[in-house]
């Protein structure tokens, strides 16, 4: 019996089998983990080639086809998200090899890999899914694995944060499930294609609102962000990088897809989304300015950046939506790469210096130069300075807003940019000030494997800005859904 494997199924099943193997064989977990990541990346590249040459790929699982069965579908956007997940995931895994290598972390190491690979299964499943109930199951896979990663360190603060995260995650998923129920009531089917062109009835609006609020809770959109800073700041560095760089993107991606197939019924709602995003930009910025610890600052910056993505989403109103999602997608990619780099770098700095209190960074005679440099490079992309991918994302955001005459979104973006300069420069001052050090300063500390991965990510965040045109071209493949056969 010859087995005919499709890259779509492999992208989901390889990490699943990897997780199983890593759980069964704890001693070999790291090797299995890296091999799985490499294989998954291979599958995604295979899939990307297929999408490049033949457009969107649809796989009806079980041969039934939607709406009875479940279809997996890969178009440009989903493959871009898969690529982001695998590439960032691979580099974070490399960094994790180093940061979890001590005998002290034996237990963390044993559980990190199965949880992370399950997380990868869930995320890849989300990016390939076209069935909203299936998405619900997938976000639960993500939630459980992500909570497990959050509390990996086992400290009280981490467990406390993990519990809050768990509550938020369950509630978010249940709101989403309730929305699924309403969609079934109204339409009698659950695949994306069934949503296109549906009349905005009461039940459908209720469904949309429920699902949006649930996803906003999962992706930590202001004012539903309360759980995020503690969870991301207290996790261990590789876990933080995965949570902040990748996990929140899954829910964001679903929002993007929903908006794509079920257009928002009103301009007002879109404005509301933008306002929530603006609130996140401002509030996240203020809290980042006040944060006392480096990782907390980075976590608050995630809140602000998520807000910015929603602003990008709302940047040109209802009419501009068919274009606005691209700006949002660019920002999602940029943030995913840069934030992972930044959290890894912050973790390295904390490891080297021994603490991450921002005020006292400049007291340390130890300067992990490379990690600091990486942090600065990542900050460049997050602030949105050229030629980084973050800049290109911000450019398309502002361009669309300006062309449509939505000056308030331009103002929000600029305010957010200035605030990010202000809060990141607090950190730079800590890196570059030397007159508070008593002992002789040691530089170029630790050329560790753990430095290579974040540096690569940070350089990618900046360099990919130069490839923005091909990236944009790629994510448009196979869009919109309804048109594809």
């Amino acid at each position: 019996m010859s087995v005919d494997l499709s890259p779509i199924t492999l992208a989901i099943f390889v990490p699943l089998f990897g997780a199983i193997m890593a759980f069964l064989l704890p001693r070999a977990a790291s090797v299995i983990g890296l091999a799985t990541l490499a294989l998954t990346t291979g599958a995604v590249i295979w899939l990307a080639r297929a999408v490049l040459t033949g457009g969107a790929v649809v796989l009806p699982l079980g041969g039934w086809g939607a709406p009875l069965g479940i279809d997996l579908r890969a178009d440009g956007l989903s493959v871009a998200m898969l690529g982001l997940t695998c590439a960032v995931g691979f580099l974070v895994s490399v960094a994790a090899l180093d940061s979890l290598k001590g005998a002290q972390q034996a237990r963390q190491r044993q559980y990190f890999w199965p949880l992370w690979l399950l997380l990868l299964t869930g995320m890849n499943g989300v990016y390939l899914g076209t069935d909203i109930f299936n998405l619900y199951v997938m976000i639960e896979v993500i939630a459980l694995a992500a909570v497990g990663l959050t509390v990996l360190s086992g400290s009280r603060a981490a467990v406390q944060a993990g519990l809050e995260y768990m509550y938020a995650s369950i509630l978010g998923a249940l709101l989403f499930l309730m929305g699924v129920g309403f969609i079934y009531l109204q339409l009698g089917r659950l695949d994306f294609a069934g949503l296109t062109g549906a009349e905005p009835t009461g039940a459908l609006i209720a469904a949309l609102a429920l699902m949006f609020v649930g996803l906003a809770l999962k992706t930590a959109l202001f004012p539903l962000h309360f759980w995020l800073p503690a969870a991301h700041a207290n996790a261990t560095a590789p876990a933080s990088a995965l949570l902040s760089g990748l996990v929140v993107k899954a829910a964001l991606y679903i929002v993007l897809r929903l908006a794509q197939y079920m257009p928002f019924p009103s301009e007002t709602l879109l404005t509301l989304v933008g306002l929530m995003g603006a609130g996140a930009v401002i509030w996240g910025g203020i809290q980042a300015l006040r944060a006392e610890r480096l990782k907390l600052l980075v976590a608050w910056s995630t809140v602000a950046q998520i807000g910015l993505i929603f602003v990008a989403f709302a940047r040109a109103g209802e009419v501009g939506l068919p274009e606005s999602w691209k700006a949002a997608a660019l920002l999602i990619l940029a943030h995913g790469i840069a934030k992972a780099a930044m959290f890894l770098a912050a973790g390295r700095i904390k490891d080297e210096i021994g603490h991450d209190v921002i005020r006292d960074l400049d007291r340390s005679p130890i300067r992990p130069t490379l990690a600091q440099f990486t942090f600065a490079l990542a900050a460049i992309s997050l602030i949105g300075l050229p030629p980084s991918l973050g800049f290109i994302g911000k450019w398309s955001l502002m361009e669309g807003a300006m062309a449509a005459g939505y000056w308030h979104w331009v103002a929000v973006t600029m305010a957010g940019t200035l605030m990010s300069v202000a809060y990141f420069s607090r950190v730079f001052a800590g890196f570059l000030r030397f007159d508070r050090v008593r002992a002789p300063v040691g530089e170029h500390q630790g050329w560790a494997l753990a430095d290579a991965a974040p540096l690569t990510l940070a350089l990618a965040a900046i360099g990919l800005g130069l490839l923005a045109a091909p990236i944009l071209g790629f994510i448009e493949i196979g869009y919109p859904f309804g048109v594809a056969p």
Partner: protein, 325 residues
Amino acid sequence: MADPLMIFDILLALSIVALATASLSVRDQFTMIVLFIIFGLLSALAWVRLSAPDVALAEAAIGTGVTGALLLKTLHHLRFVSGSRNRQPMTGVAPLPPVPLGVTLANAAFCGLITLGLAAGFLGAPAAGPGFDMLVAEAMPTSGVAHPVTGVLLNFRAYDTLMEVVVLLAAVVAVWQIERGLSEAPAPVMGVVWQGFARLALPAIVVVGTYLLWGGAEAPGGAFQGGAVLAAMGLLLLLTRAYVPQPGHRGIARWAFVLGTGVFALVALLVAGGGRVAFEYPLEHAKTLILLIEGMVTISIAVTLAALFHGREPVALTTGGRHDT
């Protein structure tokens, strides 16, 4: 007008709502859990009324039975930990910072508004909605099973079901990683009568669980319900101390956890080929494959649920301590 069934429905609905409210507002946590269990059983009854016996079985066994057991176990743990050390025997958990009444009221009003909105949306939805009825009816003959719900779970939407088993796997991995070190509350001593009952019940449970699994192909029941019933056996074993998990059993436990997921995923992948895609079972083997999957998944579910109830990974207690990373 006075249709007795309708009166029954309304009474049942009212008691469900009342029990939900009561379980959230009652002060004592033990009462809260008991009220919740009654609530769950009545909900299951309501679902029987809505011609959903499979769902009712699952809700009674898993949603209420296992969840109730988990809640009670946690309550026992909380009372043990705080009762012996913090002198807070009844509250069970450290008090959270008090929320101002105004905030609570505002939240409640907010939720009330949402609920009203949802009710409005529900009333506006089509009365007898469109659905999958026709599609399922057409596809049933080629599904390999006779019971539609089993067909949906293990064939049409098998991918969902696989991922659901993955969720269970993720849960047990997460629970093993979360709880560690220190010994938990000792199991309560329950006396001779209980031991005798357990001994009597164990074989019966095995029979019922297997029956539910086997019957699932034609009648209500299936892997999840059967697995939950078998898990009850595990609970009994754990509670009677007939079985005490040992560190040496971890390896076999891991295999049991992943068995269902692994077999399910392997079968799903290996049937692809010859024009078929993943999850597309060849018609002549469909029933066999589905039964194989169901059997393995049942074992995994039973062991996993029992492990979730037990909680922490069985490690030697000498390595206990909070910084056991």
